[in-house]
Amino acid sequence: MIMGFQDDFGQALRQTARVFGGFRKLSEIRDEDVQIAQTPKDEVFRSDRAVLYHYRPLDEKPPETGPILIVYSLIGRYTVIDLQEDRSLVRNLLTRGCDLYVIDWGTPSRADRFLTIDDYVDGYLADCVDHICRETGHDSITLLGICEGGTFSAAFAALYPEKVKNLILTVTPIDFHADGEHNQQGQGYINLWIRSLQPEDIDDLVETFGNLPGGLMASVFELISPIRSMTKYNRDLLEIIGDEDRLLNFLRMEKWLADRPDHPGEAAKQWLKDLYHQNKLVKNEFRLSGRTVDLGQITMPILNIFAENDHIVPAACSSALGGLVGSDDYTDVPLPGGHIGVFVSAKSQGLVGETIASWLRARN
């Protein structure tokens, strides 16, 4: 009993010292200590808020691939793919000889409420692809789409197959009604939540607030793991506060999470009503710039990477692509992890990068 008490007391003292030390450290951390998206890159093209960056190679070696354009979602910022040096899809691809570009959609304001998905796919994305082709002398490039950016990339590849050499999609929703299949606990909540709204609710929301508020979507994302949302600033933080590396990792992720831009209103209406409600993409009824997006027109090689434990885009919503495209060279790669974890978790580091690089090498 006495020994037990001494052990407990000693443990408590050590724990207290660790926690106090951690809080002191936390108070000393400045915003500039928590940097994300630091891999060097240069702005090469700009159209309105959309900025095209070209990453510098990490060594002097010439790139081993043709140009690859990363297309991120409008929900959240592309910075998560380069969160920190040892958790970076960008660096993992650069070290494997990839020639990388990324579009930063910027932070839309109410002035952007009338932008549509047509503008993003057939306007900004098309302009970026044209710019890269012009600058590099290629007729076509590889698109690497992530989440909503993957849907944009697939739509672009269907409209302009001659401009897309390879199509790589990661955690991308294609069949927006496939969430009922093989759901794990909590998966598919976004699909359910959006379907609980009437089309008029979405119209009214956009009419009133101009855009789909980023804060609203952030709150809905929190509902996916409600207890994690309750515990992360107390129990979880207490667990890591004494470990500077883990604390900084936590803060970098928080910095990315806090940067949740509003989604341009008209594009949000298409995203929520045409796709989440009516599932027009898989019915070949989704129209952009007056043309039907026919997934059967996607004839180039396709690599489709999705996360088996994705709570935001259930795996079935992504894997549906295989049966819809016209390509004879289609590869499905289910990976362990969640929607964001597949890019930032310690376990997945190198896995996505190597999967993409080796797939590309085989097609060079």
């Binding site: 009338f114 709150s219 207890i227 309750m230 016209g326």
Partner: protein, 304 residues
Amino acid sequence: MDDPYRSFTDLITSWTKAQEQAWHLQSKMYEEATATFAKAMDNAEASGVAPDSETGSPFDDIWSQSQETFNKWSQHVEAAIPPGTENEIGAELLCHLMDPGAWLNIGINELNRTIETMAEGTQFAELWGAERRSLRASREWLELRRHSLRYRYVIMSAWIRAFGRFSEELNKAFKESGTPPSDWQGLLETWLDIANKELLKTQRSDEFLGAQRDLLRASIDFRTFQQGLVEELCEANAIPTRTEVDDLHRRVTELRREMRALKREPAQERAGKGRATKVRKPAVAKARDHRAKSRRGAAKDPVS
């Protein structure tokens, strides 16, 4: 010679006794809580649903009951744990995370707060004080409050159910082992597991989704009403209104779109000449077969 650890031994003994009593008390507390909850639900249904005021509503009843239950529980926890041990941290977290107020202030209620903040907009201390007061007397404001309370009522009902399951779990463990659980961090994990399951289930319920949708609609109505008043004020003072600015933005977007198309035309013409013989590959038949199969998802209609 005095035993220097006697007070500690006494504390452990009294803690054990207190815990034994507490587990029995807890069953009673849960019975009381579920009875009050059932009564509150009956009242709500009898009155045609809605908790429609801040006080004296079914929400008020269920909130008081949750608070009372939680206070008894946390008093027991505070009395039972030896201070200065690692368990103390776990116990504090347990109390914090079991607090029904936590469900109303963080996590699950975040959406509620976000929606309300969106509806109310920025609050300038004394600016337009009189107007703000009159806004808060409007039908739209009262509707917003009513739906906010209903939403919270659904959350509190979930807390009561989670606490009930937690109590059952502890009593079962106590009956099987004959000793009260002494690992407070273990208790914390048990609570978090039960709470997570309950919340995930609740959030998928029609009741929750409906309450949330109604809250969103009420916030939109209130915001629209508020914007209407501001527009009138702007018009009266020759200040550009939101509608006018939106119209301007629409025109700029359309002009930019036209400009992009015009800039692209010469390039497309050049490319067209160069690729006069290039024909897009037709989609293979495989796609059509698989597409027909995939219609299973497409057949689903939005939840109405």
